[in-house]
Symmetry: C2
Subunit: 130 residues, 2 copies
């Protein structure tokens, strides 16, 4: 896959999350995936995303920067949303927040095999409290 094909594939993955088909990731995610060093089944990975969506019903994955090369994708995602339940250990306060995730993916045979995600939890905490 070329870099632009991988980009396109990743955009389709994100579109599926935004379509809320978070339990239909078989085309995009391997049977097993390593997420921040932890080995998960695809079902477990899908559950993680489903939990985030349950905590933040208006969670929208907005791709702001996308770099793809070889089997790797790096993405800066922006979230502008209003958490309704505890997320990353932070209680909702009814406030609308804006925060980013910087995330790297390793693809294998066109599907995600490993994820390294970093979410700006400090910014989120400050906005919920502030």
């Amino acid at each position: 896959m070329t870099g632009s094909e991988l980009e396109e594939r990743y955009r389709r993955y994100i579109a599926r999350l935004n379509d809320r088909r978070v339990h239909e990731l078989e085309d995009f995610v391997h049977d097993e995936v390593v997420y921040n060093g932890e080995r998960l089944t695809r079902a477990g990975y899908q559950d993680l995303i489903a939990e985030a969506v349950a905590a933040i019903p208006d969670l929208w994955f907005d791709i702001r920067l996308l770099v793809a090369s070889g089997d790797r994708v790096a993405c800066r995602l922006l979230f502008e949303c209003t958490p309704q339940r505890t997320f990353l250990g932070l209680e909702p306060s009814g406030k609308r927040v804006s925060f980013c995730e910087h995330v790297f993916y390793e693809f294998r045979d066109g599907r995600i095999a490993e994820v390294w995600s970093l979410i700006d939890r400090s910014a989120l905490a400050a906005q919920l409290a502030g």
Copy 2:
């Protein structure tokens, strides 16, 4: 510049930081650079890095993942170090810590024009306290 030339250029930039020539970034950084949305002079940007090094004398920039394409670079940097002074508002505790930065760069004419950096401050805080 091809992706691999840009990668190589970025690796030379990081080597310069690790050589502690943080005030000699003219070859790698534009006269003005936007850092997390804030417009800085190159001197101001260099000072930011110098402050981090002053707080953490054994700060070593360890490239763990690198994705380059077009004018963009994305990097996962690992730091294993012992902060000696306040860093990101966190007091040192004498503990050795391990934390990551996920950072995107926009290059223009081979030099950095914009930076979007996310540091895992939560992991750092937990380790300093824990």
